[in-house]
Symmetry: C2
Subunit: 140 residues, 2 copies
Amino acid sequence: MKISTRSRYGLRLLIELADHDNTAPLFLSEIAKKQQVSEKYLSKLVISLRSCGFIKSVRGAHGGYLLAKPATEINLAQIIACLEGEFSFIDCTSCPETCDRSHDCASRMAWVGLEKVMKGYCEGLTLEAIRLNPDAPLPL
Amino acid sequence: MKISTRSRYGLRLLIELADHDNTAPLFLSEIAKKQQVSEKYLSKLVISLRSCGFIKSVRGAHGGYLLAKPATEINLAQIIACLEGEFSFIDCTSCPETCDRSHDCASRMAWVGLEKVMKGYCEGLTLEAIRLNPDAPLPL
DNA sequence: ATAAACACTACCAATATAGTAGTATTAAGA
DNA sequence: TCTTAATACTACTATATTGGTAGTGTTTAT
């Protein structure tokens, strides 16, 4: 039940972009260096982030990446959904057919509730709020 | 970020025990059959569940398993911690040393908050409450 | 033209998860 | 006391996921 490095690195990358003056693009090489992460690996993440509409890229020399929309309009639930494929803690919550006991499963109820709580928190937390690093991590 | 089958099966097994009259032990073979899961696989889970003090076993013929304490005194956070090894969504929350940027990491705050919310929910949900299948968090 | 940057595809390695096999131990009951 | 039904334990294998690399193609400022 660990969050993957995709989400971890991806969020950090977005924070980096949000922190940066958004008029000029940021090189991936620069982000990679600053975060001490493989540029090649990040280059796979940005494809997802771009297709989800969080960032836009500038190709060619002096290219790079910038946020495609204000950090106030991106929330953690969206970022996770983008990088993990979907926001789901267990398959039978979104797709009851994956298990034939879904119709009457006490344990499923617990998982559905947990996922709901997680989603609520993440939807309420914007990239901007994360970036500003509130010393109290505002629980729901 | 999926919950593992260990936790899923483990929770279902505990519910089975909680549903059962706790004076006589339940065979693992019976639980496995009822849940249509490999008995061998369950036999590994019960070792963890027993060492965490949730269940007790009766060896020999007519043996089996029963709850070691009331279902009201076991909560979901404990069950997850038992079966996943620990209740942790990301390593740097409980152990900042795993990452050298922990001291000032905006993204870490977000994960700490998420984990806190998850833990809060799970600690508040007892096995008994799960078993009783509250109509609360139930969309199918 | 050249070099700097992203875009894309394919692959490999490491780890974690899921599941199996087989043996040892315990205890009820004939 | 022998047999049988059950848990206890150790070791192994298979599969899936994750993390990461390699290499080539494309775009564009200079």
